[in-house]
């Protein structure tokens, strides 16, 4: 049915989309290979002279390496704890009859709509009182609670599709409860849990508001906050190229995850929101 002209149009549109989505990323990469001195002198897209200098700067700056360790550690811990909590809730919602089920789902929805900035002031106060200010747990706790809604929706939508009868079937066939769970349910549930983990990780990795408000030093400051505070190696040098090198470093894992798990992410983002 598709005529040659329509096909050419689709190809053109697809290429346009590719350029639109990849271009800013490519631009950051280009900046990261420019010499710091090029900023303010040559304004092209491509580097005038290519250099690894910025990457060296970035990995020699304690501010950035500490932030990278913080970001990775905090995001991973928040992801693991958050996904475990969300899995428990989603299992309960998909499998058990109990009062308050709808209330929990509505509450999660309310959290997802919550203006984070409204909480920053009081949390700042509270965290300073209880000694959580500028610590890993001080960020992990808010990350978990704001990532939970998406994880809960994704997982409960996913768990509802699992044929739970198979567990009993396996037991009838002579498997123990543990075997039935491990050999039947775990493989069925794993993709959903994994998708929720990716979405939770992205959420934590992306945070900025908590990162700048609830930290004050290298102890817990994550990368996005560190980038915003980075003013350059010396006061005579533009921080632009170094910031971009750091940005590339934290973007690489994201791009790899997207390339590898594109399908899972699409399924996760849509399953919770609109049933496809």
């Amino acid at each position: 049915m598709e005529t040659a002209r329509a096909k050419a149009m689709w190809i053109a549109v697809s290429l346009l989309i590719l350029v639109w989505t990849v271009f800013p990323i490519l631009w950051i990469v280009m900046l990261s290979f420019k010499r710091p001195g090029e900023i303010g002198n040559q304004r092209g897209f491509l580097p005038h002279t290519w250099t690894w200098e910025n990457y060296r700067t970035v990995f020699e700056t304690d501010l950035f390496t500490a932030a990278l360790v913080n970001s990775i550690g905090i995001s991973l811990i928040a992801t693991v704890v958050g996904v475990v909590f969300a899995t428990l809730v989603a299992y309960a919602i998909a499998r058990l009859e109990f009062p308050g089920k709808r209330l929990i789902l509505s509450f999660a929805l309310a959290i997802a709509m919550f203006p984070v900035v409204s909480l920053v002031g009081p949390l700042f106060d509270l965290w300073r009182d209880v000694g959580l200010y500028d610590t890993w747990p001080g960020l992990i706790i808010p990350y978990i609670s704001f990532a939970l809604p998406l994880a809960i929706w994704t997982l409960s939508a996913f768990f509802r599709e699992i044929p739970w009868e198979m567990e009993q079937a396996a037991q009838v066939d002579g498997a123990t409860t543990w075997q039935a769970f491990r050999k039947v349910i775990v493989p069925l549930a794993a993709p959903g849990v994994f998708t929720a983990a990716i979405l939770t990780f992205f959420f934590c990795w992306n945070d900025f508001v908590f990162g700048i408000s609830l930290t004050s030093t290298d102890r817990a400051r994550p990368v996005p906050a560190a980038l915003a505070f980075f003013t350059g190696e010396s006061q005579f040098e533009q921080p632009t190229t170094a910031i971009c090198a750091a940005a590339v470093v934290v973007t690489v894992p994201v791009v790899v995850i997207v390339l590898l798990f594109q399908r899972r992410i699409v399924a996760g983002l849509t399953s919770g929101a609109v049933k496809g």
Binding site: V13, F98, F107, P115, D125, S145, A157, S213, V274, G276
Partner: protein
């Protein structure tokens, strides 16, 4: 016969007792499994919110804790009577309306392409998803540097000479909006893609047979049939854009009258440490979010039961 009769009754009773025992156990387990998640969500939202409402009644700065005194709704009248607040409300409103409108249109286009793409389907989907994963702060830096006078290429590519984008209110805001659109349109397009998948294909065919043009099919068949998905996407993105912060912080720091509501609340509490006043702005921001959500849910009848996942 009479001797046998009691047996089934006893059995039934026993069954009922067993069932209610089991349902009680199920209830307990359900609440137990939900407890950790609910507890942590409450800890981070409910208590601080109540605290914010309480502190917003005081004139209170961290730097001078001894001067703290009760002022009732004084902070609110200060905020609501301040031209800066209304300027920020207007900025936030414009940013929200423009971003959401543009994103719905582009997002719909992207969804159509993902739905029907014949060419490099996987590559296109992956490309569309990329901005979703990019850290907002990094997207902000990318767009800022692209338009910046020191480093940017946009001026020379468009032949604009030395146009200083960040020296004017609306030109700064358009770059902010561009960055926001780039970063969040993938989310919109995925929601709309799921909506497109729900439009029955034979409806479109029937319309074609009846002689409808592609344009008519779009407006009379496709869009009405995916209204639920469109409204959900609009609601989520409206609330998200209304809370815009990262882009403004990185690109303009609120200079050139580009401050948004979230930025104002942040600046009062964290930068100026005027906790009472900042919390009043925060509470007003919270109330405005509730109001927007209510308008969407009651006014436009957005069906969120699907979003919540309870069918």
């Amino acid at each position: 016969m009479t001797a046998v009769q009691p047996a089934p009754v006893a059995g039934l009773r026993q069954g009922r007792a067993e069932r209610s025992d089991r349902s009680r156990a199920e209830r307990r387990l359900g609440l137990l499994l939900s407890a950790p998640a609910v507890a942590i969500m409450l800890l981070v939202t409910a208590y601080p919110l109540v605290n914010a409402v309480y502190l917003s009644m005081f004139s209170y700065r961290i730097t001078a804790p001894d001067d703290r005194r009760f002022v009732g709704f004084g902070n609110y009248t200060t905020v609501l009577g301040d031209a800066l607040f209304w300027q920020d409300v207007f900025t936030t409103f414009v940013v929200t309306v423009v971003t959401v409108a543009v994103e719905l249109v582009i997002g719909f286009g992207l969804a159509m392409v993902m739905h029907r793409a014949v060419f490099a389907r996987r590559t296109v989907r992956t490309a569309i998803l990329l901005p979703y994963g990019i850290v907002t702060v990094i997207s902000a830096f990318a767009w800022k540097y692209a338009f910046d006078l020191q480093s940017g290429f946009v001026d020379s590519w468009l032949g604009l000479g030395d146009r200083a984008w960040f020296s004017g209110r609306w030109s700064s805001l358009s770059v902010v909006v561009l960055s926001e659109i780039w970063k969040t349109t993938p989310f919109v397009s995925l929601l709309l893609l799921a909506g497109l998948a729900q439009v029955p294909g034979d409806l479109g065919e029937a319309a074609t047979v009846d002689g409808a043009t592609a344009w008519q099919r779009l407006w009379r068949v496709t869009i009405p049939n995916m209204k639920a998905a469109i409204m959900v996407a609009a609601l989520f993105r409206t609330l998200d854009a209304w809370r815009i912060f990262d882009n403004v912080y990185v690109m303009t720091s609120g200079q050139q009258r580009t401050e948004t509501l979230s930025f104002l609340a942040y600046r009062q509490t964290i930068t100026r440490t005027a906790i009472g006043l900042g919390d009043a702005v925060g509470v007003l921001l919270f109330l405005s979010v509730v109001l927007i959500a209510a308008v969407f849910i009651k006014g436009f009848r957005v069906d969120l039961s699907q979003v919540r996942g309870d069918r």
